[in-house]
């Protein structure tokens, strides 16, 4: 397998006279987890449909593992597991029956199929609903069944359109962990509207707005580019000396709901850290610091970075568009 698993080259997509995607290009290497961000109607789903071969681009081309996606493209489709938006599934089938069907279409049979089925049932946590009609499942379980069929053939590439939509907070954590784990050896593209999700799971972000690719970078770099934000914390050790950086990092990382802790500069015997979290950590912060003999020298809250970046990139675009129209 080539290192470059997906290449989208100058792709445009028109629906009738409406242009949903304009000259989008990017490449994804093996082992990357790419998050697609963008407002509603930006073209995220459309891009995914081009990669999965469901739709053909109006211009440009898509390569999957070096092979062009064209026509029926069964070779590239075999390499991809796809969870379409809203997990469309056969409502009248039982979960178990549906997984068998998916396995057969993925050319799995015999003990191998059975083994894969058992694995995905366990991994997606759907043991309890195997005998249910898919139409009667809750949204979260539908989503899990959709994910189970996407990974049943252990594909090297996963395309997941809003994989955590409809899941409860516990499930979201589980699925994110699963995605990170799968991402160790697979190439994954996922779309989401939850910005912290991108920071928590992806090692790269692509922001699309109105069919145009407006950013393609690591979450860190995107944050950097906008200036740091989040929770800025300065710590020093007992006696006003510079704290043990490793230890301070560990303490901060152990707080509830932490997504990421970035060590910043050292200054005047204090160390600065940028902390991103899915919930407010301030209530627990002081206790943890006292227990570890760390002094809080500074604490300030800034808006979540990627959110800001996102708004900046997607709203600016809109504003400039409006100017052009005038």
């Amino acid at each position: 397998m080539s290192e470059e698993m997906i290449a989208v080259e100058n792709c445009s997509k028109k629906y009738g006279s409406f242009t949903a995607l304009k000259d989008v290009s990017f490449k994804v290497k093996r082992g990357e987890i790419v998050g697609f961000l963008g407002p509603n109607g930006a073209g995220k789903t459309t891009t995914m449909k081009l990669i999965t071969g469901f739709l053909a681009p109006s211009a440009g081309r898509v390569l999957v593992n070096g092979q062009e996606v064209t026509g029926e493209s069964t070779a590239t489709k075999a390499l991809i597991g796809y969870l379409p938006e809203n997990a469309p599934l056969y409502d009248e089938m039982m979960v178990d029956e549906f997984l068998d069907f998916a396995a057969r279409l993925r050319h799995l049979s015999g003990p191998k199929a059975q083994k894969r089925k058992e694995t995905v049932i366990k991994v997606c946590g759907i043991e309890g609903v195997l005998g249910k009609d898919i139409g009667t499942l809750s949204k979260g379980y539908r989503q899990r069944v959709g994910l189970a069929q996407a990974i049943i053939h252990d594909p090297p590439i996963l395309i997941l359109d809003e994989p955590t939509s409809g899941l409860d907070p516990n499930q979201i954590v589980d699925i994110r962990a699963l995605i990170r784990k799968l991402g160790e050896e697979k190439t994954i593209i996922l779309s989401t509207h939850i910005l912290p999700e991108v920071e928590a799971t992806c090692n790269r972000v692509i922001i699309i707005n109105k069919g145009i690719l407006v950013a393609d970078d690591t979450p860190e770099n995107l944050i950097e580019a906008q200036g740091s934000s989040g929770l800025l914390i300065a710590l020093s050790a007992a006696g006003g000396s510079l704290p043990d950086k490793e230890k301070a990092l560990k303490v901060l990382q152990s707080l509830n709901g932490i997504l990421k802790v970035t060590p910043l500069r050292d200054e005047d015997n204090t160390s600065y850290f940028m902390v991103h979290s899915s919930q407010d950590v301030r209530p627990y912060l002081l206790k943890a610091l006292i227990e570890n003999d760390l002094y809080l020298m500074h604490l300030s809250l800034k808006q979540l970075s990627l959110e800001e970046t996102f708004r900046h990139l997607t709203l600016d675009e809109k504003a400039s568009k409006e100017e052009n129209h005038e």
Binding site: F54, G71, E72, T74, P84, P88, L89, L105
Partner: protein, 236 residues
């Protein structure tokens, strides 16, 4: 081939997940049975000729009910995206669905065998025309199921698929009836494409390969157009 069978099996089972299959089979058997026995006792001869003469009309009406949801419903519910992104050829999808429809209709036909047997117990029956009648009906099923699949591939929902398939079926069914007040050449062309003209030989006990080729050509053409429809959809 495996793909086709996987899809056909799933769809065939699917017929029985909804009341559609039961309703279609019951109504088909009741209607054909009633029409058959009433004409049988009125005319009073031990033959299935009248029964087979009904088949074109019956199947023009009933096969769209079997085929309508097969592709149109997938498109409406979004599941088409699921199978269309599996490593399948377009023809696997079309043929799998087609086979399941043919299988259900052939089941219906199979259940009419008791009619033939009951006639045989009442009087002496000539099995030649019965055999040719069944062969003809089979050919008819192959053609009409294909037309239904094409309609279902073209339509956005099952009701439009039903209406389109009925319209196509009735057109082919009725064209033969209008030949007498049309110019000779056009008339014979319409007679050639008519579903009914080609069925007459079968009811008379004659199996003519020309008639079989006619029905198979219709089936092939409709299925081919169905495959093209799926291909075209990718370019939206």
């Amino acid at each position: 081939m495996n793909n086709i069978i996987t899809i056909a099996t799933k769809e065939f089972r699917g017929f029985f997940h909804s009341p559609v299959a039961y309703i279609v089979l019951t109504v088909f058997l009741l209607t054909t049975g009633w029409l058959f026995f009433s004409s049988f006792f009125l005319i009073g001869e031990a033959s299935l000729r009248n029964f087979f003469a009904l088949m074109p009309l019956m199947l023009v009406i009933f096969s769209p009910a079997v085929t309508m949801r097969l592709l149109a419903e997938e498109r409406k519910s979004g599941t088409f995206e699921l199978i269309a992104t599996m490593p399948l050829k377009d023809r696997d999808i079309i043929l799998g669905k087609y086979l399941s429809a043919c299988a259900l209709l052939i089941c219906g036909l199979f259940f009419t065998v008791p009619y033939a047997l009951s006639v045989a117990t009442i009087g002496v029956i000539d099995f030649g025309p019965v055999l040719s009648g069944y062969v003809g009906t089979l050919a008819l099923i192959l053609a009409l199921a294909a037309i239904g699949i094409l309609a279902s591939a073209l339509a956005k929902n099952q009701i439009s698929a039903l209406i389109l398939a009925l319209a196509l079926g009735f057109t082919l069914y009725l064209v033969g009836a209008f030949t007498f007040f049309l110019p000779e050449s056009l008339g014979s062309f319409l007679a050639y494409i008519s579903l009914t003209t080609h069925f007459e030989n079968f009811t008379r006990g004659i199996i003519d390969t020309k008639d079989i080729i006619y029905y198979l050509s219709i089936a092939f053409l409709a299925l081919y157009l169905g495959v093209l429809t799926l291909k075209a959809r990718r370019n939206n």
